[in-house]
Structures are given as C-alpha cells and as structure tokens.
C-alpha cells in the first residue's frame, strides 16, 4: 500500500521553473531513491514535503491530503546539521525535545541505540571531535528516533570521502534491513541509488520531471556477490542520465 503519493507536483521560484511535473509514490517499508543531476531541484521536492515551500499539485499521505507536514516526515539534511554546541547525545535527542519529550526521557530513549549506530562511548563528545562518518551516523540517529512515518534523506553521504561513503552505504543497507524504514533518498550517485533502493526515480535536469522509474530486483542483503547485476543496472541508469537533454521539449516515457 502506498504511504506517500505525489501527483503532478510543480514548483517555480519567481520565473524559474524548478519542478516541471513530478509524480511518484513510496510504499510502506520501501526504500525509494530520487536520482538526478545536480541542481535538478531534488531538494526542492523535500521542501515541499516538509512544508518549507508550497507548490502546485497534490500530495497524499496514507491516502489523505498532506497538510500537517511535520507529523509524517523525519528529515535528514545534506550536511549533518549537528549543532556544534550540543554534545552528541543532546544532538540526537533534538527532535524528541522539539516534540516536547522531557530531556531525561528523550535521553533514555536514545541512549540504548548508540551502540548500534557505532557511537557508543561518544555520547559526551562534541560533534567537532567526531569523524565525518560518525557525524552522519549521529545525524541519522537523530532522524530515526523521531519515530515519524517516513525518512527523507537528502544526499546524506554527499560530503563524505569515497571510502567512508561506501562504508556508510553498506551500514545503512544493513540498518534498513533491520528496521525496514519507509524512506525516500535523494542522491546523484547512481551506485548509491542502486545499492540501497527498491525503486529509483530518475529525474531530468531542471526543470525536473520523472524520466524513468526503475525497479531494482537485486536480492538483499546487497553484498558484493550481486555486483555484476548491479553493474549492468548502473550502466543502464548512467546511460539514461547522460542522454538527458536539458532542452525543454524532451518528453518522458
């Protein structure tokens, strides 16, 4: 059953058309990626979902029109957005605190998850004392403990070095298999999209429209054994992206 459904959403900033026509859906427990060139307006879609911006078109959550945006989504921004002045434990409880959970109760809810997120022993550290990968794991922990219906991940590993990014992708895939979050991931990394997703929406350059929806039939866990199959899929998607014309007349499907 589809949890999130977006129908013919458009958005323009002044005269600049950013989203031309976006329709997509995310089912319960499904990991879906939005893949597109940089500057295609992928983040704008998240702003519409979280209610930071308003556009045309229809958005539904569990069949009902999306109005109370904050209730459904836990949003993880591009950079980790950890507050430098808060210790890691207090950074991860931030969402709960905003929801009105008492600080002590919030801490006791988050603390048991530190080991699983590879952060045990770093509760009292400040973000500046952590490596990039650890910071991203802390940011993800802050996102998932909000216990919203769905995760919105905006290029969460974009700022990491290649090796750390690969490690984080594997770790996230493993975590996802455990928790089965309903998740929507924005990325411009083909390999990342194939590795993590059940389905991928390929977006055109600005103004963005969905040019292709791709199912990823690869078995989970996504280990290196499936590398050959994923390689074929990656090449196919890369082809689509490279053949995209930035011109307006380009038709999809």
């Amino acid at each position: 059953m589809s949890r999130l459904e977006v129908r013919h959403v458009r958005k323009a900033f002044g005269g600049l058309e950013v989203l031309a026509d976006i329709s997509l859906r995310v089912d319960a427990g499904e990991f879906v990626s939005i893949l597109g060139p940089s500057g295609a307006g992928k983040s704008t879609l998240f702003q519409l979902l979280t209610g930071a911006e308003h556009g045309e078109g229809e958005m539904f959550f569990d069949g009902a029109p999306l109005d109370d945006h904050g209730r459904h989504f836990a949003f993880m921004p591009q950079r980790d957005a950890l507050m430098p002045w808060r210790r890691i434990l207090d950074n991860t409880t931030l969402g709960l605190e905003v929801q009105g959970v008492h600080r002590k109760a919030a801490r006791s809810r988050v603390a048991p998850l530190f080991a699983e997120f590879g952060l045990a022993g770093f509760e009292r550290h400040f973000p500046a004392q952590l490596s990039g990968g650890m910071r991203q794991r802390a940011a993800l922990l802050r996102t998932v403990v909000q216990e919203r219906d769905m995760l919105l991940l905006d290029e969460p590993f974009g700022a990491l070095d290649a090796l750390t990014r690969a490690a984080m992708q594997r770790w996230l895939e493993q975590m996802w298999r455990h928790y089965r979050w309903t998740a929507l991931l924005i990325t411009h990394d083909v390999r990342e999209a194939v590795f993590l997703s059940d389905r991928i929406y390929v977006l055109s350059a600005r103004p963005a429209r969905v040019v292709r929806e791709i199912k990823v039939p690869l078995p989970r866990p996504r280990d290196p054994a499936g590398a050959r199959q994923s390689g074929i899929l990656e090449a196919e998607i890369l082809d689509i992206l490279l053949n995209l014309q930035p011109s307006k007349g380009h038709d999809h499907d």
Partner: protein, 272 residues
C-alpha cells in the same frame, strides 16, 4: 570536563603566548626611562616610568578612590547597553523591516564625535552617574547589536530547515539554533566593546564629574602633574585589560565545544 582546561601545560602555553607582549612593553619602558635620564627633560614635561610608578604608589588612595566611580559607570553602562542590544537584536531578528528602519539611526549615532557629545550629555543630565552610563552605552551599543544580529544570520541554513521539519516554531528555532550560533560573534563584539566602554566612561568624566579617573586626569593636567595623568592612564589600561581578560574567560567557560574542537580524538574509537 571544564577543569581539564586548567592543566599546567595549558598555563605554560598561556605564558609562552604572553611573553612577546611582556618583552616588547618592557623594552619600551626601559627605552623611555633611559631617554628621560639622559636627555635631562623636566619631569613636568615627561616623567620617567619609575617616577610615574612612584607617584602612583604615593597617590594610590586617591587613584583607587577615583577608579571606583569609573568602574561603576563602565559596568552599569555596559550592562544597560548589553541588555538593550540583546532586546533590540531579537526584535530586529523577528521583524526584519525594523532593521531597515532602525539601523540608519544607530549608524548615525556612531558618527557623533564623543568630544562634542560628552559635554552636552553632562549639561543635560548633570554630574552624576546618568550621563556616564549614557555615554558608555552610546559607544558600546551599536557594536554589540551588529555582532548579535550578524551572529543570528550566521545560523546554518540546514539547521533551521531541520528544526522546522521537526515542528519547531520561530521561538524554538531562535532559542535552539540562532542564539547559540551567535555566541562567537557575541564574544567578538564583547571584546571590542569592553575596551570602548572604559574610554567612554573616562571621556564622560573628563567632560564633568565629581569623581572618576577622567576628572582626575583633567585635574592632574591642570596642576602640571603629567606623572599623575600617566598614573591614571596606567590604572585605566589595567582596568581595560582586566575586563578584556574577563570576557575571554567568560567565552572560555560559555563555549566548551570550542576547546573540544581543538582536541580532536583522532584514532580513538571506531571511525567509519
């Protein structure tokens, strides 16, 4: 955690940092002393540092007596200015149009020559504490306001977006993100303003006061006692340095994460 920053190595580092300044000031004083001794210049024109120190010790009761009103004016004036700057910075942050309306007025206030304004303020408000507080506030208010407003603006965009996605309203965003983001700017402004504050107080007293370092300097000058003028200057410099040191200490205590950033825990624990 906080106590770990006061270890001996840290102190030794502090001395090493201060050494060049101490040496250069020391050399300057020695050169001054030698010049006065060898040129035979009269002490009523240029007294030697040793004489200034000697006279300062002899007149320490009078100096202290006059330093207290200056300290009081500085601290009260600065506290008023800080409170006003904080209140207004919040107002400006919440209602952006106010910024365009008010900032030109404040900028003009910064162009007023203190020499001209100080006697007028004394004329209007008398020889008491009020005009001193007002002048201290006048010179320190705007730098503090600008520091705070800039600090709020420096909040990471992503942090704001994330907080709003969590359901935080403007107050929560201000309290949780904008205010802490402004702290480094606030302390930078504080360090600059506190030095202005002492000068402002002395200027106000110079224009007219019953007591204070400013009026003490004026009287000493009129009595042809440059040694006492310089002794009072030394006291005001020491006062400024102490206040400056206090702001540094305050920043140190208020922003423990700044220190933490310095000691990276490289190689400790599992890195991704």
């Amino acid at each position: 955690m906080a106590s770990s920053s006061f270890n001996p190595r840290h102190l030794a580092g502090l001395f090493a940092q201060a050494a060049p300044a101490v040496i250069s000031i020391g050399l300057l004083l020695v050169a001054w002393e030698l010049y006065v001794n060898h040129s035979g210049i009269k002490p009523t024109v240029l007294p030697a540092p040793s004489r200034v120190l000697e006279q300062a010790m002899l007149n320490r009761d009078a100096l202290l007596d006059n330093a207290i009103p200056t300290i009081r004016a500085t601290l009260i004036g600065f506290a008023c200015s800080l409170s006003a700057a904080f209140a207004l910075s919040m107002l400006v942050d919440f209602f952006q149009p106010l910024r365009r309306a008010l900032f030109p007025v404040f900028i003009v206030s910064q162009t007023l020559p203190l020499v001209a304004i100080a006697p007028l303020v004394v004329l209007w408000f008398g020889f008491g504490l009020t005009p001193k507080i007002m002048l201290v506030a006048l010179v320190t208010f705007f730098p503090m306001l600008v520091a705070l407003v800039q600090g709020y603006e420096a909040t990471e965009v992503e942090i704001g977006q994330m907080l709003r996605s969590m359901g935080a309203g403007r107050w929560r965003v201000f309290w949780l993100a904008r205010l802490p983001s402004a702290l480094p700017y606030f302390f930078a402004g504080l360090r600059i303003s506190i030095t202005y504050a002492v000068v402002g107080a002395i200027f106000a007293e110079y224009a007219g006061a019953a007591k204070g370092l400013g009026i003490y300097m004026l009287n000493a000058k009129n009595n042809f006692r440059p040694d006492l003028v310089l002794a009072a200057v030394g006291v005001s410099a020491a006062l400024t340095l102490v206040l400056f040191g206090l702001t540094v200490l305050l920043q140190h205590l208020a922003m423990p994460w700044e220190r933490a950033a310095g000691r990276q825990t490289a190689g400790k624990g599992p890195h991704a």
